[in-house]
């Protein structure tokens, strides 16, 4: 016996049952199960198929075929080359835009962000189609250059590498800009001012202070663009020539023409493996902290963990930046000698003007080309012409009189609505759990949910085709809805999470202290306030499905075609003004949707 005074024995009171974290997290389970069944399983299946022989025996024969074929080696090389150049051009041209956005006044920034976002959301096919009109032999660009007397013969800007670059960079740059912007917005603006008062010229302050701090964003943007670009097939198929065939195109033809799942699986593994290698190389050279936006300094302090590659990379980066700083410094010096700063007269912000012009041109390149489908759609002529010949609605009549087009349109609406509803239900419930509960492995679950954004879509599409073929979902609306929801749900989760993070949870506590149950609190207090975010999530999901081609390419077809699928067929076979009419309808429709979604999202986040 210890000497402690004996406490009166009390009957053990029943403690209220505390739900374990796993039980409380139930709203996220449907989403997780959905992702496992409709995303992880089909993808794993197709990868597994790659090592199976004709008699379901384990074999590397499929890989041997790839290794022995010159074509595939060549295609891989082309894929890497196109992805690399797309990345470089997107970063170089996107950086000034991101910088302008990060340093602009909030009101200007809001408008500019929408201009950058628009092309991100407007239909891929519409944009590619617009480039086909613009860059053709007799297209407006050649006409304008010829008219100005700059060229004697039309430039060939399409069905070659140039065309692919023009289309791919336009497609990828919004992603690069937004990724870089998210890092740049966290850079303290007083640092630049401090550098100025300490004696740094604009160029020095930029290269020595701002650029190193924004480098993690550039690195992250580069990785995202590169990996995404590797899975492309629409742009190279429509704007490229024979020499611009990418890996995804080969996979499509292997599936559609040879129906060889195992070989397609092996090609998918190659595509995935290359993505993974790029990712790992990136991590070795630049460090994973760049992805999470940690500052460069965090890495240099943990020097012991750094590999040689990483140190070499860091040193090379530092020297490159120092070199650029030196060059800009010399230029500024010469400029200052020619036009010394005057103490008695206001300065003109020449740097800012140059930046505005450059970024303005880039934004114009992002936004304007799609608009060319509008005048073309009103032509009275037989062919696509710019400027249009006469004015008529005949192609709109053709569109609306064609059962194929009308059915495709209706089908797309049905599928997109279904996707929107399903993704919103699953995603909103999941977002609540991810934001409100400190779930063990929450970060891993989030990565799993967001994985469809990064995984080359073609792999998922092939996997779903294989799965659906066996359970009879090919050609059904349900099959499309399920597949599109995998792609759309990340946008819902991200949007709703953003709104929930800014939501003041004390309001819920207040409601409950006033006697509201958990459900009434959700219904009368929480949901009304985050409604904007949820509706925005729905609209983003809707658009994702409405514009989706990759999965539709395999899972729909013939009489079950969606609008993008139907456009793709026509674009490959015969380009005609009906496509312009369809494109115009899509363009107007999507623009309205996106402006609405953006407005709602902003109201949701700032409220």
């Amino acid at each position: 016996m210890s000497g402690a005074p004996a406490l009166p024995r009390m009957a053990p009171t029943r403690r209220p049952r505390t739900d374990s974290a796993w039980i409380k997290a139930w709203p996220i389970y449907p989403l997780v199960i959905f992702i496992l069944v409709v995303f992880v399983y089909p993808v794993a299946q197709i990868l597994w198929l790659s090592v199976l022989g004709p008699h379901d025996n384990l074999t590397l024969a499929n890989y041997a075929r790839i290794a022995h074929s010159m074509v595939f080696g060549l295609t891989l090389g082309i894929t890497l080359k196109i992805a690399l150049w797309t990345t470089i051009l997107s970063l170089v041209a996107g950086y000034p835009v991101a910088y302008l956005l990060a340093t602009a006044r909030p009101r200007v920034r809001d408008i500019l962000i929408i201009l950058v976002l628009m092309p991100f959301w407007t239909s891929f096919l519409v944009r590619t189609f617009a480039w086909m009109i613009l860059l053709g032999r007799n297209g407006p660009v050649n006409q304008a250059l010829g008219g100005l007397g700059l060229i004697d013969q039309p430039l060939s800007m399409i069905f070659n590498f140039t065309g692919v670059m023009i289309g791919m960079v336009q497609a990828m740059m919004p992603l690069a800009v937004l990724t870089m912007l998210s890092v740049m917005q966290r850079i303290d603006t007083t640092l630049g001012k401090a550098a100025g008062t300490l004696g740094a010229r604009g160029g020095q302050a930029f290269w020595r202070i701002y650029f190193p701090l924004s480098a993690p964003g550039v690195a992250a943007a580069g990785l995202l663009v590169f990996i995404t670009a590797m899975g492309f097939f629409i742009t190279p198929a429509l704007l490229g020539g024979r020499h611009e065939t990418m890996l995804a195109q080969i996979i499509i033809s292997v599936v559609q023409e040879l129906m060889d799942w195992r070989f397609a699986g092996a090609l998918s593994v190659v595509l995935l493996a290359v993505s993974a290698i790029i990712f790992l190389l990136y991590d070795r050279v630049l460090g994973l902290s760049t992805m999470s936006g940690g500052d460069a300094a965090a890495r240099s302090t943990s020097g012991a963990r750094q590999g040689m590659l990483s140190r070499t990379g860091a040193a090379a980066g530092t020297h490159a930046v120092a070199g650029l700083g030196w060059v800009s410094d010399r230029v500024a010096e010469v400029f200052e000698r020619l036009f010394p700063p005057r103490a008695d007269r206001p300065r003109r912000a020449i740097g800012r003007i140059v930046l505005g012009v450059v970024a303005g041109l880039v934004i114009a390149y992002l936004c304007l080309p799609s608009l060319f489908v509008i005048p073309v759609s009103f032509t009275a002529g037989q062919f696509i012409n710019f400027p249009p010949q006469g004015l008529s609605l005949r192609w709109y009549h053709t569109y609306l009189d064609s059962p194929i087009w009308v059915n495709a349109t209706i089908r797309s609406f049905i599928v997109a609505t279904g996707t929107g509803v399903l993704a919103t239900l699953l995603g909103t419930a999941g977002a609540f759990v991810l934001v409100r509960q400190r779930l063990v492995g929450g970060a891993a679950i989030l990565s799993l949910i967001l994985a469809p954004l990064v995984l080359p879509r073609i792999i998922l599409a092939v996997g779903l085709f294989y799965l659906y073929a066996r359970i009879g979902l090919v050609g059904t609306a349900l099959g499309l809805v399920l597949g599109h929801t995998v792609l759309a749900v990340p946008y819902v989760v991200i949007t709703v999470m953003a709104v929930l993070r800014t939501y003041d949870e004390r309001l819920d506590h207040a409601a409950m202290s006033l006697g509201a149950s958990r459900w009434s609190t959700l219904r009368y207090i929480t949901l009304p306030q985050i409604r904007g975010g949820i509706v925005a999530g729905f609209l983003f999901a809707f658009i994702t499905s409405f514009d989706e081609l990759t999965i539709a390419l395999f899972v729909s077809g013939g009489s079950s075609s969606t609008l993008p699928r139907q456009m793709w067929n026509d674009l490959l076979l015969q380009v005609n003004p009906t496509l312009a009419a369809v494109s115009t309808v899509i363009l107007v429709f999507v623009t309205v949707f996106i402006l609405l979604a953006e407005a709602l999202r902003r109201r949701g986040v700032t409220a």
Binding site: T190, L191, K193, G196, G202, P346
Partner: protein, 368 residues
């Protein structure tokens, strides 16, 4: 042009400086001289124009009119990097991706000093702020006080003629702030630097400054030593903003060697000097600590009977609110010692004060 602006002893001069944001006047007619080695503080409520004035001097904002002279040279529209001044920012603005050493070396690199000299100058600056041991660390590995000192070292290392400090202690907690006040003051004295300091904290301004420039509504209200500002405020705003004041309306009724003013309730107040014509209305400013509760038989230049309304004990100091028999309620501040430690409401008392403790502000100067 007046001579003083080009005088090398005047490290900083502004003449009639103004800044408009559209129709909004952020600063207007600001003329100020900062002699070598002085610690001058811009004090005022938020929106008074003190930060605008600082930004204009730093070159981070272009003025709408007027001139700026730094170290005898015109600098009105020069870019910040050509002004050769030091700025300590509110959040210190230490570069997060550079070590402490690299941060301090930055201005020297920008000035292309030889490497060897940079090393020794950085060491000297670190020693001056007594932090040589943190040279290899990154800013986020330092405490708030240490970051503050490094920000200062980064400015001092290139010996700018003036160091501007924008509420540098605003982010620190009370205790550290008091400590850093002494430290900055000490550095100022030891190193002989010229400082233009911005704060909205009047105690901080009083404790640190050689002179204070009081600002209000985009204008300079009064410039003077802390003592002058406190005891000889020139405007009602100055009297009201610094410390506490009893403010009474009165009219001059007796002039000559012993001027007398009378309040509307008929209370007669003797003052030591009042430069205003008879019959003129004025505001009288009397500090609560200038008022005393008189002991029986004790006499003063001015005496007024009254009744205690409330006594508030706040530690070392007690405050009594007294309703004067023929006048308003006044606040009396006394040390909490002796017989009047606490007085029940309704106690009859006599309030007394010296004639030279009354500041007379003619009414047309009491703008606001």
């Amino acid at each position: 042009m007046d001579e003083s602006v080009t005088d090398q002893k005047v490290k900083l001069a502004t003449r009639d400086l103004s800044k408009l944001y559209g129709p909004v006047v952020a600063l207007e007619g600001a003329s100020l001289d900062l002699p070598e080695g002085e610690f001058l503080t811009l004090l005022g409520p938020s929106g008074s124009g003190k930060s605008t004035l600082l930004m204009l001097i730093a070159g981070l904002v272009a003025p709408s009119g007027g001139d700026i002279w730094i170290n005898g040279r015109l600098a009105t529209y020069l870019p910040p990097n050509k002004r050769d001044i030091g700025v300590v920012f509110q959040n210190y603005a230490l570069f997060p991706h550079l070590t402490v050493e690299e941060n301090i070396a930055f201005p020297l690199r920008m000035r292309r000093l030889p490497q060897a000299q940079i090393g020794s100058e950085v060491r000297r600056a670190l020693e001056a702020v007594q932090l040589p041991q943190v040279a290899a660390r990154y800013p986020r590995e330092l405490s708030g006080g240490q970051q503050q000192r490094i920000a200062l070292a980064r400015c001092m290392v290139y010996q700018p003629p003036v160091i501007l400090m924008d509420e540098p202690l605003g982010a620190l907690d009370r205790k550290l702030r008091d400590h850093m006040q002494l430290e900055i003051k000490d550095l100022h004295r030891r190193l002989g630097i010229t400082v233009l300091y911005v704060t909205h904290d009047q105690e901080e301004a009083m404790a640190m400054s050689d002179r204070i420039c009081l600002m209000n509504g985009g204008r300079i209200e009064q410039v003077g030593t802390p003592d002058e500002l406190y005891f000889r405020p020139k405007t009602l705003f100055a009297a009201d903003f610094l410390g506490e004041s009893n403010i009474l309306d009165a009219v001059l009724t007796g002039s000559g060697s012993a001027p007398v003013l009378t309040t509307e309730n008929g209370l007669q107040i003797r003052v030591s000097d009042a430069a205003l014509p008879a019959g003129k209305r004025a505001k009288l400013v009397i500090r609560p600590e200038s008022l005393r509760l008189l002991a029986p038989g004790e006499a003063a230049d001015n005496e007024a009977p009254g009744v205690v309304q409330e006594s508030v004990f706040t530690g070392g100091v007690s405050r009594h609110f007294v309703k004067l028999a023929d006048g308003p309620v006044v606040s009396v501040k006394q040390l909490t010692v002796g017989r009047d430690r606490s007085l029940p409401s309704g106690s009859p008392v006599r309030v007394g004060w010296a004639a030279d403790q009354v500041v007379v502000l003619p009414l047309d100067e009491t703008r606001r």
